[in-house]
């Protein structure tokens, strides 16, 4: 037991003490921020950075050009009485100062076709600006042409946007259930599990291979059991992962608090917002809904189960990675063994996404019971509520399999770490297990 503790401590310190760990731990959140910020920044640059484009509009009907208002991207200039051939001349004469020519034909009311001409590319945003504006304008013109008083108001009144709310009967009474938030939470937990297992599984494998390449392993196993060394690695790297997660959660907490106090989101969750205010502020009403949903989820069982599945899944896959890592001499040879494992993980991940659509469907149920996919898939199902028998069956299966895999991996490991030279095949691994 003492030796196991020593091995865990060494493994932990060897990773946490590395510069790359510190860079990674602090860099990851920055990278995520960057990934989130880049599209926003690009969009901003797109809006602000580019010059306003002149768009010539030839309105043969003479009625609709006025509806196209210039904005900070496009400046619409109405030309009168020109035909298409003239438009070409006009465009050429303008010598590039005009981006495109829009022609609203005389029969637009019946055909609903509008043409945009240009030598350059016509951007989707120009197309959608023109389409949306003319859609509304022409539709309104049609309604007006029917000559029925107040028709416009009547149509607007008739327009509905159904808001479907799901309410769950539970012991605590009626409870607005939380489909969106539940789904989001499920994805988050499933993604965390997936990332963690892959990242730290690879870390364990590298650590095993490194010891083998260093040739230190024979010295170490002459002082402890190979199984102790393997288990020490799995636990040590697991603790590294937990440390990293804890740091991220703290960072997230700090960023969240700072951002919350800056934008006043923090105050949203407290106090009730009167209906008028909600109608007035659509956005904050939406936030309020999300908050309500987030608060309505019963977290305790979810967190407990998450921890269980997390440990089980991590143990299962990390043992697998450790066993497979022991069979190769260098990291570059490992792919023949890791590819199937990563494939299974990917299947689990996509199954998780698919199961979110139908968390009680047969695929979701099976994938959340099969031990290799259950740690990822069950996370998606958890917030929706899972029958107890399925949970129990799934957890028992997961841990039984994890222990079995650990046992098998240990048998491969004790042979693998001393196997040098000729590349081992899957056949060899089976021989070693026997």
């Amino acid at each position: 037991m003492n030796k196991l503790r020593l091995i865990i401590a060494r493994e932990y310190m060897s990773i946490v003490g590395r510069k790359s760990f510190i860079i990674m731990t602090l860099g990851m959140p920055l990278l995520f921020l960057l990934i989130a910020a880049v599209p926003v920044g690009l969009a901003y640059l797109n809006d602000k950075g580019s010059d306003v484009q002149q768009i010539a509009v030839i309105d043969e009907t003479g009625r609709y050009a006025a509806a196209l208002h210039s904005d900070d991207m496009y400046s619409f200039v109405a030309l009168k009485g020109d035909t298409v051939t003239n438009a070409r001349e006009f465009y050429d004469k303008a010598n590039g100062s005009i981006g495109a020519v829009v022609i609203i034909p005389r029969d637009v009311d019946s055909t609903g076709v509008v043409n945009i001409y240009s030598e350059g590319t016509i951007t989707p945003s120009l197309v959608s600006t023109i389409r949306n504006t003319l859609n509304d304008t022409i539709e309104n013109a049609h309604l007006a042409a029917m000559g029925i008083p107040n028709l416009q108001e009547m149509v607007e009144k008739a327009h509905v946007d159904i808001d479907v709310r799901s309410i769950k009967w539970s012991e605590a009474g009626e409870q607005e259930s939380s489909t969106d938030a539940a789904m989001g939470l499920g994805f988050l937990l499933s993604f965390i599990t997936y990332m963690f297992v892959l990242m730290y599984g690879a870390m364990i494998m590298n650590s095993v291979i490194e010891e083998k390449t260093n040739r230190i392993v024979e010295v170490v196993v002459s002082s402890c059991r190979p199984f102790q060394l393997m288990l020490g690695k799995i636990i040590g790297v697991g603790l590294v992962g937990l440390t990293q997660m804890a740091i991220w959660i703290v960072l997230l907490g700090i960023v969240g608090t700072v951002a919350g106090s800056m934008f006043g989101i923090g105050s949203m969750s407290t106090g009730t917002v009167p209906p008028e205010a909600m109608a007035a502020a659509q956005d904050s009403g939406f936030m309020q809904d999300v908050m309500k949903q987030i608060l309505s989820i019963n977290y305790l069982p979810i967190i407990l189960n998450f921890v269980l599945y997390f440990i089980g899944g991590y143990l299962l896959y990390s043992a697998l990675f450790a066993g497979l890592g022991s069979a190769v001499d260098q990291a570059s040879d490992a792919s023949q063994f890791t590819t199937p494992v990563i494939l299974i993980m990917l299947i689990a991940f996509y199954a998780g996404i698919a199961c979110a659509e139908n968390p009680m469907g047969p695929m979701a149920v099976w994938c959340s019971i099969i031990p290799f996919t259950s740690p990822v898939v069950m996370m998606v199902r958890l917030p929706f509520g899972v029958p107890t028998w399925q949970l129990v069956l799934s957890i028992v299966l997961l841990f039984a399999t994890a222990l079995a895999i650990t046992w098998l991996a240990a048998r491969i490991y004790r042979r693998g770490i001393l196997h040098y030279g000729q590349k081992a095949s899957f056949k060899d691994l089976f021989k070693w297990i026997k």
């Binding site: 060897s14 260093n214 024979e218 010295v219 002459s222 059991r225």
Partner: protein, 306 residues
């Protein structure tokens, strides 16, 4: 009672037998050479003694008791293929290895300082292993093997990778450990070092013991009745007593004569003394290298004839 008693140990792998009923007795306080060509089973036997792998049959007793996992604290093992954690600091690394063998932290630290001092590595204590030269790393490796002062030391090709100066220092340290009472098991191809330091040897070939005994006994047993004779005049062959062998330019020890079967040394020398101006003579014993090659080769011919 031998300190380390290996009795009829068998180890089979898929497709081949690595050890086929190997027995070996190592007395306390001796330096014991475990010899054999590549693939003879030396490393397998050493790993079994270190309890890295388990024997399929047979027993290994240490100090009269069947070995258990706890006994590995009493062994220091320097494998042939060795290495260190490159990113660890020298001092931490040595202490880690010592503690894995069951030392307390304080003992391990004290012992580490003592050994670093002895090997002039004191200023390297807080440097990372990767910053050390190869020779220094080998010394650190050696310290890691002996830090817990084990009564049984197992060295697999200890001199490989050492330059002559460091090899000499290592030899001195090994002899010093023996003098302090450690028993040393020595696996090597380097026959010169066997003759210098080993008292007993066992030669393994094809998973079996083919030769065992003290170095002197083995040499006596393998002697070829060759005498190096120094005379003032040239010796002619005597068909009734001996033949003359071609001279060995490396040794310059006079004329080599091989006695015919059944002729004893005294008769040959007295005959030579009568007929030539004899100035000296020595019996030539085979080197361990010659015995090694001869034994392994003769086994091969036996196998081929079977």
């Amino acid at each position: 009672m031998p300190y380390l008693d290996i009795n009829n140990v068998v180890k089979r792998y898929e497709g081949h037998t690595a050890l086929d009923g190997v027995s070996m007795q190592v007395e306390q306080g001796c330096i014991y050479g475990l010899l054999g060509p590549n693939g003879a089973g030396k490393s397998t036997l050493i790993r079994i003694i270190n309890r890295i792998i388990a024997a399929d049959a047979g027993s290994v007793t240490l100090n009269g008791k069947e070995m258990t996992d706890d006994d590995i604290a009493h062994i220091g093992y320097l494998p042939e293929e060795r290495g260190l954690y490159k990113k660890m600091k020298v001092g931490d690394h040595i202490v880690y290895l010592g503690r894995l063998k069951g030392m307390t932290k304080a003992d391990a630290v004290a012992s580490m300082h003592w050994w670093l001092d002895r090997f002039d590595l004191k200023e390297w204590e807080n440097k990372k292993v990767e910053n050390l030269s190869k020779g220094m790393q080998q010394k650190v490796q050696f310290i890691g093997t002996v830090i817990h002062r084990p009564p049984l030391l197992i060295f697999d090709e200890p001199f490989s990778g050492f330059d002559p100066v460091n090899a000499e220092q290592l030899k001195t340290e090994i002899l010093a450990l023996r003098d302090q009472g450690s028993t040393i098991l020595f696996s090597t191809h380097n026959m010169a070092s066997v003759e210098e330091v080993c008292q007993q040897i066992t030669l393994l070939n094809h998973a079996k013991v083919v030769l065992t005994g003290s170095v002197d006994e083995v040499k006596q047993h393998h002697k070829k009745n060759i005498i190096a004779v120094q005379t003032a005049d040239t010796i002619e062959p005597n068909p009734e007593l001996f033949t003359i062998l071609p001279p060995d330019p490396a040794k310059r020890q006079g004329t080599l004569i091989k006695l015919d079967p059944g002729v004893n040394v005294r008769d040959a020398i007295s005959w030579l003394n009568e007929h030539y101006r004899l100035t000296g003579f020595t019996e030539v014993l085979p080197s361990m290298n010659e015995i090694f090659i001869e034994t392994v080769k003769s086994q091969k011919t036996v196998e081929n004839n079977e």
